[in-house]
């Protein structure tokens, strides 16, 4: 009952409608069967995706479709090694995706840096910076592995276990700390993560800390333009 996704958690407690459960199940089912992925082709793993999508393996029969903007996507596929510069973009893109959102790391490079272990310019462990739901290891993983990973993710979603996006809000300070360590103190993204955390009721004890304090010092907050008559 806890993870009913369409409402914020605070709202769920008040719900008394018994059908709500059915409804939420239905929504989760739909969600798992309609996965739009943003394949962020950072490295060689990207080459395995076209066969996975086209006639041989046809991911569309699972309801999985490629999408081109983070706004439309549910899954962020990071397909290979992540250089520091790329990571900034990945984080920006991730934060722009609407929740619930899932991150899949493909290839060994996203797991531990892989063959770029010794590279000074490469982020080694993706999960340090983003909450990764699923790794598909391999160098590179075959389309079968990708499809299999996807099915696994679908299962996780259906059962409500793919919740790592909440983790990003709950432990934002941790992720931000790692990001700041890599990108410097003046790092900021346009998305107001703290505000979103408040809004979704995911603002936990670890959401804020020294890193967010630093962020609040340096960042220029982007307050949306509201319509005003005066």
């Amino acid at each position: 009952m806890k993870e009913l996704p369409v409402r914020t958690e605070g709202a769920f407690a008040k719900r008394t409608n018994p059908l709500a459960h059915v409804f939420d199940e239905f929504v989760r089912f739909c969600r798992s069967h309609s996965l739009f992925m943003l394949h962020y082709c950072t490295g060689c793993g990207a080459i395995e995706l076209p066969p996975a999508m086209t006639s041989r393996f046809d991911m569309e029969r699972l309801g999985i479709q490629p999408m081109v903007t983070p706004r439309q996507a549910d899954i962020l596929l990071v397909t290979g090694y992540v250089s520091v510069k790329t990571l900034k973009r990945i984080i920006l893109t991730y934060e722009q995706m609407p929740a619930p959102k899932y991150v899949i790391g493909i290839c060994s490079c996203t797991v531990n840096g892989g063959m770029y272990w010794q590279s000074y310019a490469t982020a080694k462990v993706l999960a340090d910076y983003l909450p990764v739901d699923l790794y598909i290891a391999g160098c590179m993983p075959r389309p079968e592995a990708v499809v299999s990973g996807m099915r696994k993710l679908m299962g996780l979603i259906k059962t409500g276990k793919a919740e790592s996006w909440k983790d990003y809000y709950r432990r934002y300070d941790h992720y931000l700390g790692n990001q700041q360590a890599l990108f410097g103190e003046r790092w900021q993204t346009p998305t107001d993560v703290l505000g979103e955390a408040q809004q979704y009721g995911l603002h936990g004890p670890e959401t804020e800390g020294e890193h967010t304090a630093l962020l609040q010092q340096v960042q220029q907050p982007l307050i949306p333009h509201r319509m005003r008559l005066k």
């Binding site: 903007t69 998305t191 982007l222 333009h225 319509m227």
Partner: protein, 623 residues
């Protein structure tokens, strides 16, 4: 002292007051009140629109043995009510903050007020004319009054005003030729005298009259190929002035055409005049000119990068719909054409005001230097939105009704090409006005415009009032169509039988009450669907997908220049200044001739000319 005298007096008083006190911005509200009096006086003449007897003017002159007399009829009233309304709105708009701002910017407020006041007062004279002489007098007065208004801003406007002047005088001369021709035929300047001899006239004479009258009045309407002056002249006039000019000024041409071509010669005559070796008749020729006037200026508007120019070009194009409707001449089409005059006046004035409001706040009308203002000037945005929906002729605004009437008539008459031209014009308008809206109000808000505020009430009120009229007459077009039946009767056209919502016909009518109802029901269902989703979180404009790039306020992230690149790639070369070329070559030819003329006076031996001309004269005499 009839109501018409009162109207003239009131408008003259307004002009006088504007001339005396116009310099002070605080005179604005008082002048607006005077315009209100004018409007009321016109409104009191309202029974005209429901078939009351014409209202004569007391003064009547006689010059060189020819009488001049004036009176208001339903046709005059219909145009007068638009004039009075437009003038009132324009005066209201400039009565407060805008006028002060204009004066502070170094503008000559007195001149502007005076020029604006002169326009309606001369128009009332023109609208009341009932013979060729008074028509011409009124015509010239109106031309010069708008010239003064165009001059008011100085700067670039002067160039355009001068260009306008050349065109206007040319047109006036054509009218004069027609008038004198009519005099040569009948020995008098009375409309009735000409109407009486029309059946006996040869086709050649009739053609001369038709061409001279439609050409002369067409200049004012900006009919092709006499349209090149209008956009610049209207656009470069100070805001409220351009709102007034754009709303009604060029429609005086239509009025005069209605009065002479349709009132005097008669639609029957035009229909009987066929063009040799073609299946076309005179009224169809007019409709074709109108069709080209719709299409070319509309697509020229598409190319504009200045909001005022864009609107002004559309003003020319929309004139084509009016003429097309009137020229087709059946009940539906003429009602549509006439109603478009009203509709166009309402939304065009609102649009020009909205753009002026933007200029007032941002200092520019350059479509490449604006953007995102919707959050800062939402009411102005609303006005502009209503206006462009009207201009594009989409439901539920009033522009849709008039266009529907014209389209329906074109289908009835079996005029596929005109129909397509009209629709192409509408499509071009939609495409073009979206650019206007998008480049000003949507997209990225520039840093320098973050502190922009909504315009003050004195400017908002007339705009909103006009928008309301645009919507209400769209919802219940019968209000206006009722007037037009009287006008149609006066002009001897087929008479429409309107309902409150439009027209009832078994084979496809129009009931705007239903149309609007269905549309809003659709929106309601759409809203239900939309609202089924959760609450949305508004984000800053820079929280935006840019292929992963980080956006900053310094980055210009608004697609505005060459907005329809693909379209222009295809059709741009089709109409690259062909009429400009025509105009330029006429000017160049004149210039060449002028050089030759000046050369005559630079000759070393002027006696050579003497000898030459003597020999020539003697030779001619001997021959």
């Amino acid at each position: 002292m009839t109501l018409l005298d009162g109207l003239w007096l009131a408008s003259a008083l307004t002009a006088l007051a504007a001339g005396l006190f116009g310099r002070s911005p605080s005179a604005g509200p008082w002048l607006t009140a005077l315009y209100g009096v004018q409007f009321l006086l016109v409104a009191f003449m309202g029974p005209l629109a429901y078939g009351a007897d014409p209202v004569p003017a007391s003064p009547a002159f006689s010059v060189l043995g020819y009488g001049l007399s004036w009176q208001f009829t339903a046709l005059s009233w219909f145009f007068a009510v638009i004039t009075a309304g437009a003038a009132l709105a324009a005066a209201w708009f400039m009565s407060g903050a805008w006028g002060r701002h204009y004066a502070e910017q170094g503008g000559d407020l007195r001149l502007l007020q005076l020029a604006l006041a002169l326009n309606p007062s001369t128009m009332y004279v023109l609208l009341a004319s009932r013979d060729f002489l008074s028509l011409f007098v009124g015509w010239e007065l109106v031309s010069w009054a708008s010239f003064v208004l165009m001059l008011a801003a100085g700067g670039v406007g002067v160039r355009w005003a001068l260009r306008y002047l050349v065109y206007a005088i040319g047109g006036a001369m054509a009218v004069m030729a027609a008038m004198v021709l009519s005099h040569a035929l009948t020995g008098s300047f009375e409309f009735g005298a000409l109407a009486a001899v029309v059946p006996d006239l040869s086709a050649g004479t009739l053609w001369s009259l038709v061409i001279l009258l439609s050409g002369g009045f067409g200049v004012k309407m900006g009919l092709l190929p006499f349209h090149l002056w209008q956009a610049g002249a209207y656009a470069e006039t100070p805001g409220p002035g351009s709102a007034f000019l754009g709303a009604i000024s060029s429609r005086m041409g239509l009025y005069a055409m209605l009065l002479t071509l349709f009132g005097v010669l008669g639609l029957g005559t035009l229909k009987a005049l066929s063009i040799p070796w073609t299946p076309l008749e005179a009224h169809e020729l007019l409709a074709w000119i109108a069709a080209f006037t719709i299409v070319l200026p509309t697509f020229t508007a598409l190319k504009q990068n200045d909001a005022r120019w864009l609107l002004a070009w559309h003003g020319i194009g929309q004139g084509g719909y009016m003429l097309m409707g009137v020229a087709m001449g059946d009940a539906l089409a003429s009602a549509g054409g006439l109603m478009h005059v009203f509709n166009h006046a309402t939304y065009q004035a609102a649009l020009f005001m909205a753009v002026t409001a933007v200029v007032y706040r941002t200092g520019t009308a350059d479509l490449n230097k604006l953007g995102g203002l919707v959050t800062r000037m939402p009411l102005t945005f609303l006005v502009l939105l209503v206006g462009i929906i009207g201009l594009a002729g989409l439901p539920p605004m009033n522009g849709f009704v008039s266009k529907w009437l014209i389209y329906r008539a074109l289908i009835d008459d079996g005029q596929p090409l005109l129909f397509v031209a009209a629709v192409v014009g509408t499509l071009g308008t939609i495409v073009s006005v979206y650019k206007l809206l998008h480049n000003i109000f949507l997209g990225q808000l520039r840093v320098e415009h973050e502190s922009v505020r909504e315009v003050p009430g004195s400017m908002l009120a007339p705009m909103l009032a006009l928008s309301l009229i645009v919507f209400v007459t769209g919802l219940a077009p019968g209000l206006v169509l009722d007037w037009l039946t009287t006008v149609q009767r006066e002009l001897g056209l087929a008479v429409l039988a309107p309902t409150l919502g439009g027209v009832e016909r078994p084979d496809g009518g129009l009931d705007m009450l239903w149309v609007v109802g269905i549309l809003f029901a659709g929106f309601g269902v759409g809203a239900l669907i939309f609202l089924a989703g959760g609450r949305a979180r508004t984000v800053h404009q820079l929280d935006n997908y840019a292929g992963g790039h980080f956006l900053t306020a310094e980055v210009r992230y608004h697609y505005s220049d060459n907005f329809y690149a693909g379209l222009m790639h295809r059709i741009g070369p089709w109409y690259r200044g062909s009429f400009q070329w025509l105009q330029d070559s006429v000017v160049a030819a004149t210039d060449l001739l002028a050089q030759a003329a000046a050369g005559v006076y630079r000759v070393v031996q002027p006696a050579a000319w003497l000898l030459g001309v003597t020999v020539l004269a003697l030779w001619w005499v001997a021959a």
